[in-house]
Point group: C2
Chain length 197, copies 2
DNA sequence: AAGTTAATCGGAATCGATTCCGCTTGCAAG
DNA sequence: CTTGCAAGCGGAATCGATTCCGATTAACTT
């Protein structure tokens, strides 16, 4: 899933082209929105052939993920090894709240690109970033709520953040990001508590 | 979202073509799988022009939804007005369990078509069947667990059943449908219980 | 510096979905 | 039984993504 590094060593012209393509794509998204991100246009704006573009990024959604990638690794670094409350050092419940809040913010922030990337290749997010999130979150949940099925609970919490659903709730249903954060936090809080009855 | 009925009255030739197209599409899916469902092929097999196909079903995912539609309305009728435990008559917690189990089964049963339909138009499922499910489930949850945020909890439970995620878990992760049913059931059971502490 | 090779290039060709539009036809009013 | 025309039809044209492949070129060897 790592879209930036490479097996051996990228040839200098290839690296230069990668940079030109990403710059051109970012500019197009900034000026014309995600819909304007046509492969032929990106290639033309970057001054390369479409073949080059496909060699580097695989397909349209690969390009979208590459555009997302920088913030992605930033986020992953933050919750894996950054300072508390997101990173290690805080209690699991605190980290879970922080993680969910940050995940909502991050998704909302890049909603259009995620929408496009997930639409073109819904499977790509799985096996990729999703699995990393899931591994992290289910570990924390197992730690904080030994009685719950951490694996499924993590899926439930993360699936609620899928770009298409989030877009629907935020844009068509008037739900706020804060309400979703609160709802997920409550859901986690309630789940796995020792039952009364 | 109703893909079968129509505003005024469908002309007889149009109705005949609709039937021919659906029959041809179903046969193609049966023999060549969902990947083989190319618009031009369906049109040719049905003996109509592609324009006709688009007039009737809007686009590829519309055709997929139409193929799903029959079982869809069957399912909706069952949980809205059918016999218990799915329909009215049983206690809310029982109906919720039954609904989640049935929803898992139904999704698994038509996983390929749903995968295609959602991939082509992830938004279509929202505003359509998803909203119906959500309305139903959140009503039951509100009834059974007055302390929980039924709206968000319903999203969490339903989002876990999204075709791409379910396909990933079932096919790539070795998770069974039964485990997911159990996990969702537990999640509902735990959520909204009066807290101990 | 010249040779060798595998990685890259570029852009034409291909492929499938979707749109367009002039022609046809069901059907209801006169 | 004509006539009017909105709904419907077919399939060519368009559009954008993706694939192909012969020409180039970076990078290592001798």
């Amino acid at each position: 899933m790592n879209l930036v590094t490479n097996p051996r060593q990228e040839r200098v012209d290839a690296a230069r082209n990668r940079a030109k393509i990403l710059a051109a794509a970012a500019e197009i998204v900034a000026s014309h929105g995600v819909e304007g991100l046509a492969m032929a246009d990106v290639a033309a704006a970057a001054g390369v052939g479409v073949g080059t573009l496909y060699r580097r990024f695989g397909d349209r959604s690969g390009l979208a993920y590459a555009l997302i990638d920088e913030r992605e690794r930033e986020f992953q670094a933050a919750f894996i090894a950054g300072p508390p409350p997101l990173g290690p050092g805080a209690d699991a419940p605190v980290r879970i709240r922080a993680f969910l809040n940050a995940a909502v913010d991050r998704t909302v922030e890049q909603l259009d690109l995620l929408l496009m990337a997930e639409t073109a290749a819904p499977l790509a997010r799985f096996g990729g970033a999703y699995d990393a999130y899931h591994a992290h979150l289910s570990m924390l949940i197992a730690q904080a709520r030994p009685d719950a099925d951490a694996y499924v609970l993590a899926d439930a919490l993360l699936a609620t953040l899928a770009a298409p659903l989030l877009a629907h709730r935020l844009r068509d249903c008037g739900v706020t990001a804060d309400r979703i954060k609160a709802g997920l936090g409550d859901l986690f809080n309630l789940a796995g508590q020792r039952r009364v009855q």
